[in-house]
Symmetry: C2
Subunit: 230 residues, 2 copies
């Protein structure tokens, strides 16, 4: 075993939120160090007896107050030996999705503040955090096309138009309302509630909710959830 290895291992987390036709990314304001006062991704060093994903969940909670029970591993950044000024640091990035209104942001260890930023407003982050956000955004977009990942970003019960707007916002492309609805409903993982929602003028919308059991049984039946758009 090479005892001279001196590489630090960190995690960084990209959390997406969605509200009112806008996609947000969670950033924190750094408390210490070279980038004190700067906004960047939540993250930090992995503890010796802590799993990678656990470290990401912990750091996220500590620095922003956001609690998630699962994150997806994105990519491990470590080809650039000098990506961190403090020495050799390799970081394992994670991404997740939450509904911003369901989370109360609060700063704590290592962070002064935590805030949602629209994806367009993000630029010039320290380290290679711009690249990490870009990687996460690409993953989000591509996953949206073949996995029902959008439901974490909406309320439990939502009108179809919310889902439609979410897709159009993230994929940045127009969608035919009628074909989209048909396609999603054909997957048979949405459950129609008997509630209606009237927002302003127009016909009230029936509220739907995502049914995880139906989703899983559809998965077993080998259904392909791919969505194609014109």
């Amino acid at each position: 075993m090479d005892l001279k290895q001196d590489i630090k291992l960190a995690v960084d987390i990209v959390i997406f939120g969605y509200e009112e036709r806008q996609l947000f990314v969670l950033l924190i304001k750094q408390k210490y160090g070279k980038y004190k006062g700067r906004w960047l991704l939540p993250g930090g060093f992995v503890k010796n007896k802590e799993g990678l994903k656990a470290a990401a969940i912990r750091e996220l909670k500590e620095e922003s107050g956001v609690v998630v029970d699962d994150l997806e591993q994105l990519f491990t950044f470590g080809d650039d030996v000098k990506r961190d000024h403090r020495g050799r640091v390799v970081t394992v990035s994670y991404f997740g999705t939450v509904k911003p209104s369901s989370m109360k942001l609060k700063a704590a260890t290592d962070s002064i503040d935590a805030k949602w930023f629209t994806i367009e407003s993000i630029s010039d982050l320290p380290y290679d955090h711009n690249q990490i956000v870009e990687t996460a955004f690409n993953r989000l977009k591509s996953k949206l096309n073949y996995q029902p990942i959008g439901f974490n970003l909406l309320s439990k019960k939502f009108p179809f138009s919310d889902l439609e707007n979410l897709y159009m916002t993230i994929l940045q492309s127009p969608i035919d309302r009628r074909n989209f609805r048909k396609k999603i409903l054909s997957f048979d993982f949405l459950e129609e509630t008997d509630e209606l929602l009237s927002k302003g003028s127009g016909r009230p919308a029936t509220l739907f909710k995502f049914n995880k059991k139906k989703y899983q049984s559809s998965l077993k039946r080998g259904i392909n959830f791919e969505i194609k758009f014109a």
Copy 2:
């Protein structure tokens, strides 16, 4: 910076080869340590001033003699704190594809031997290497469906039946020869040569070759390379 962190960072590499309707994985025979004499994935510790992918390429070459110019990052294993008996080791896994007959295997540092194993014959590898191989195999299968990844595994010039057999072998499902050919040709990244290949009886096959430029121009035109099978 947490100076007490004591985590070692390693890389492990899964290289696939294909020959005669069989898919192979490259393993090496360990020279030292607890698993001396056992077959396992090539890999090793990352050097302080060495990029992750570079480390993977180096270890692969040192331990097996296989030279590749690129590898794809697979997954970083580090949720299990005790995946390695030597202490806390996190490993970044990579995968790649080569044509076995074009590579001369030779052992060197840390390995006694290097050999191709059929994917079915692999079982009971040390550490979590079975899981790494499984992850890589799943990635290979899914990539085959939407990227022209199979050509690295074949000769430069090949008959269509080679490609067909490759797909059937990896995906473990029968393919309609005529529809497969039509689909692949419609992507317009194969070039027909004027050479014919006669192997045994039967009509000689025209040899094709993968045209990278055509592929890239098709990519730009937004062509979807997804292949669906019955």
